[in-house]
Symmetry: C2
Subunit: 351 residues, 2 copies
DNA sequence: CCAACTATTTGAAACATTTCAATCCTCGCG
DNA sequence: CGCGAGGATTGAAATGTTTCAAATAGTTGG
């Protein structure tokens, strides 16, 4: 039985074939590819012609085996569906593509196991570095990876206590800004739709909120009612309203991110609760659509593109293992963006 | 001078070291890793202990060099910042991670050159397949790659004419739905904020719109005023208003996607043009935030998660090169979601 | 106690590169 | 005419796996 069905089964061609075709040695072919300045003009032409004629494509894995480092870096996020990452990612991509590095996107889906699995694979691939928003609180495994020579930068997660580079926005400060804003508007009962407190950002924003309350001479225990959501999605944001004593309870809602706020707005509308009249709402992140929500959403802006860019930059220096570089932390400052959803007269135009 | 500064310079360890430590041959170590059922229990234990003790991590490139196929697939999008992709990506990721495949994310930024560059790198990496929303109209280079053995699936782009697998939503139909909706509300002058017509989706939506106009016995040339945006961002959506004769012109705006609509809504608000009273607006994609915009946005829903999932599924079968599989096209149907921004009484609740 | 198996283990080839010491030319110069 | 310099090219080692035929050890039946 002739195997008509597998016409393209022929062995993929290698530099050996090119060398034969051009009548040179493989060493020369390699030189043409990597150090053309060492090769005589006519030879160069001939070899390049052969490469084109045969349709030769270099084998990256083989190259890497000999050469060492991979040309891909890992980017691990907790949830690719989160618009926050969507806005951070371009900043990362821009910088990486300048260095001709491939971006391997991993989503831990908030699972420590899945994170560990991906990290293992990335290490096997010998990536020079990993950019990560860790799923769990413990980051000792990341420190260990770093020690084994893989560049490591925490994204949107302070790493002060550890020995890792980090790029973050000051979440405590953001929580303070939000809290102070709501308090200044006279709210004394604030519902906080938060994520799990093991997530650092969530814990920090809560801490900031408490700071603001105390700074106003009040007791956080009295003022703040926290509801913990299992996931930071619109759906959960909406569902969380069930667990708040809405009518007799808070007069303001602080949502740990805009995605949750989106759900809360929907839910409040369905329940006929007017925003900001019956309930002030604010989000966090100031994602692209926040300004255009109904009503436009007061939020805490984070410099997302910059964040991604800075993280990639830091990762590059970290994985180069430059001497003199130990661990470095870049902290951006958040900014309060006042819009309609908190009922204050906007301090700046809606966009 | 002792090199205190390079403590971790030691050669990365390989299976040879593990074999030596465990007192077996490398072949056995390989078997422990890949076919443990062939190895005797005590040996298995001993080798595994050595692996752990030494902290051995297999070298993926070497493995791949011998074995052939890579465990990463390429996903090429035109713009990672686009929320549409943010909602498609989870569908892709879900399916790929089930197969333990890594996702290499490439953004062509709508540049044919950058796309070509990435494709070249992906081919060098010997990826088994690529999921792509092509930047340009010509896809012959993709057909060629497919012929060379790389699985290829067009994402959100029909491939009927070509020999490629494709997963798409019927964009002509979507355009028709949108057009019919606006016409049924009495609009006779429609501004279409479109992307470049070389982008297939854009051209198709326009075609659908024209179909709807003709179906109503009208002349598209009279009814439709198209403005072409250089990029599908909120910024450009806003800027495009400048190029429309707003007051004396269209009474309705059809935006080629929700991101553009977002910008248009902002711009109209700033110009004091009421939506939907002075101008009806509709978007396309029905992204997560569309329902919560101000006013809530009428849009054309695409099954995004499904789209991604189906695309990944198709890619898996395509790169397996299963016999009997030639090229296949999956077309999902879009759905009109009526909300406030077009001023019709909503046919379904706002979410 | 030996033959015939079976279950393990081994050793070396193969994979596609890069790198580098060694060789080969070709000139220019004495 | 011979020699050295220096550019161009070569050939082979090295990289870390997998695979597989061959060797070895262990077991059972006669």
């Amino acid at each position: 039985m002739t195997d008509i069905h597998k016409p393209a089964e022929r062995r993929r061609l290698s530099m050996v074939d090119v060398a034969a075709h051009a009548g040179v040695s493989v060493g020369t072919v390699s030189n043409v590819l990597n150090r053309p300045e060492l090769v005589a003009k006519p030879t160069l032409r001939r070899v390049r012609a052969s490469i084109k004629a045969l349709g030769f494509v270099p084998n990256a894995p083989a190259r890497q085996l000999r050469g060492g480092a991979s040309r891909s870096v890992g980017v691990m996020v907790r949830d690719i569906g989160n618009p926050f990452f969507t806005e951070v990612l371009p900043g990362i991509e821009t910088r990486l593509s300048q260095e001709e590095l491939l971006l391997v996107l991993c989503s831990s889906s908030d699972s420590v196991e899945k994170e560990a699995y991906y990290l293992q694979i990335l290490e096997q691939h010998r990536v020079p570095g990993i950019l990560i928003t860790p799923a769990g609180d413990d980051i000792s495994h990341l420190v260990e990876l770093r020690r084994r020579g893989i560049g490591m930068v925490l994204l949107d997660r302070p790493g002060a206590d550890s020995q890792l580079c980090a790029v973050a926005v000051d979440n405590v400060r953001g929580g303070e800004l939000a809290g102070a804003h709501l308090l200044s508007l006279g709210h004394r009962r604030i519902g906080f739709l938060n994520g799990p407190s093991i997530v650092r950002q969530c814990a920090d924003r809560r801490k900031g909120l408490d700071n603001a309350v105390r700074a106003a001479g009040l007791d956080p225990g009295e003022v703040v009612t926290e509801v913990t959501l299992p996931a930071l999605t619109p759906r959960e944001g909406e569902a969380a309203l069930e667990r708040l004593p809405l009518r007799a309870g808070p007069t303001a809602l602080f949502c740990v991110n805009d995605t949750v706020a989106l759900g809360a707005l929907r839910g409040l509308e369905q329940r006929g609760i007017g925003v900001p009249h019956d309930m002030a709402v604010m989000g966090y992140d100031d994602v692209e659509f926040a300004a255009a929500l109904s009503p436009s959403l007061t939020s805490i802006r984070q410099p997302k593109h910059q964040l991604g860019h800075a993280a990639a930059e830091l990762l590059l220096t970290d994985s180069r293992g430059d001497a003199g570089h130990w661990h470095q932390e870049i902290v951006f400052q958040p900014e309060l963006i006042i819009r309609v959803s908190t009922g204050a007269s906007p301090s700046r135009p809606g966009r």
